[in-house]
Symmetry: C2
Subunit: 275 residues, 2 copies
């Protein structure tokens, strides 16, 4: 398959997946007798290249305090300062990138925040990246087991090195200034470019796994009661989440450096937080 | 005066000023029939050099939602990655730094957040830096005039270039990803090293001006009524404040890169915010 076809296939997949995730989450809201729907916004790059995206946000639901599902496809030239960090971009800085990212902040503090992202990047090289991780405010060993083993299964079925991705995730979602992890990890992978068809299948399977596991995680605890002090604990945890995303997150830096849409990039921030 | 004496003089001044500011703010609380006092925490650098500091925080007051007054004096060696940005540190990375910073987040959303900082830095060079700026959630032309003219006066009395510092402040406290300023500016100066005695006097005068102007700004509006939607507006403004501090602020980066105390560095964050 030539690179232009690869771009089209991955771009279309991410759009398809965005629809499925929004449908799945809206269904959860409807089942909880909520009328809340995703509000969809299209945006186009104004400078520094081409492309754009669609971000869909559902706020103040019965289940979701705020959930954003963002899909974008952009291209352009990286600034000289930024390009030396990107494989295959050193020479001319050219890039094309398509991806989907999801961050769900739950109303019920007993249900963890969930983050998912997959992307296909093209410079003079090309590769997939992505991952899933969850950030609970309360320890739940059973949930951890269900979550991690679902990821292990997806990796195994695709002959991917689960252990490597798990360690990468723990290392990535870590706040050095707090000496604490953001959440309980999951998987994180990048620079996947051994066999395009197989890597693309893996990326699709990770996306489908997110659809299934996010629903499971939410439904397990959808009826759990909580108190004001539980919500307080979640708001403090969200403060840490914000610190990580603004101080360290590569996706945030990539977005702001590639002329992305600010609302779409900072969609990941929770609706409120405390320190 | 030799450099060791300069270090002692500036360090002692910042400690003295910290006391005065805390006393002034506690008095404002007491006058509003609040029992809230500053809680003081000493910390010591555990790695990457010597020194430490004292941060004082007053939370949940009748006037202040949260105000932090942080004084620290640290020394060590900058990492190779960080030192190329610091004048006089390129060769061996050695530094000594003392300073005071204050961030006040007000309960009444009609009163702006106020930020103040002064510092003395020693590498193979030495210089003063600092500034004052305010971040209102509501436009108030009269307040702007009082505030800016007080700074103009201090600069004039010390033969300092007010216009340069004002522009520097506007440029510094700007969120490019939002294309909006953090607040209404004030003054920002750095690398002041023409005449140590005169520069030190200027730094002291800026500190005293902060004492006076912060009290004036607060007292002008202390009895103003506000509604829930006014508080909402302030919480959204605080979200922008957090974005600036974590994405761009040099002081935050300096602190985290010089082994500073995380609680002291992130004392600048508001107690809560919304997006």
């Amino acid at each position: 398959m030539n690179i232009e076809d690869k771009k089209i296939f991955s771009d279309k997949w991410f759009s398809y997946l965005q629809e499925q995730i929004c449908n799945s989450f809206e269904k959860i809201e409807i089942e909880s007798r909520s009328q809340k729907k995703f509000i969809s916004t299209d945006w186009y790059k104004k400078s520094k290249g081409r492309g754009g995206g669609t971000y869909k946000i559902l706020k103040n639901g019965k289940i979701f305090d705020k959930v954003g599902v963002n899909k974008s496809t952009v291209s352009g030239i990286f600034s000289k300062k930024f390009r030396h960090n990107i494989p295959g971009a050193q020479k001319d800085g050219k890039y094309w990138a398509s991806g989907i990212s999801v961050v769900a902040h739950m109303k019920n503090p007993k249900i963890p925040a969930i983050h998912f992202n997959t992307r296909f990047i093209v410079t003079s090289k090309n590769w997939f990246g992505g991952g899933i991780d969850v950030t609970p405010s309360f320890k739940d060993k059973k949930e951890e087991k269900i979550f991690h083993s679902s990821l292990k299964k997806v990796c195994k079925e695709n002959n991917k090195n689960y252990r490597k991705y798990k360690i990468w995730c723990d290392k990535y979602f870590f706040l050095p200034h707090r000496n604490e992890p953001r959440g309980i990890g999951g998987i994180f992978f990048d620079y996947e470019n051994k066999n395009w068809e197989k890597d693309f299948k893996f990326v699709r399977d990770v996306g489908i796994n997110f659809l299934v596991i996010s629903k499971n995680i939410i439904k397990r605890k959808i009826n759990l009661k909580y108190k004001g002090k539980d919500k307080e604990k979640q708001l403090l945890k969200r403060g840490r989440y914000i610190e990580f995303n603004l101080l360290y997150d590569r996706g945030t830096k990539f977005g702001l450096n590639s002329g992305g849409n600010t609302e779409a990039i900072l969609m990941s921030l929770p609706p409120n937080a405390k320190w």
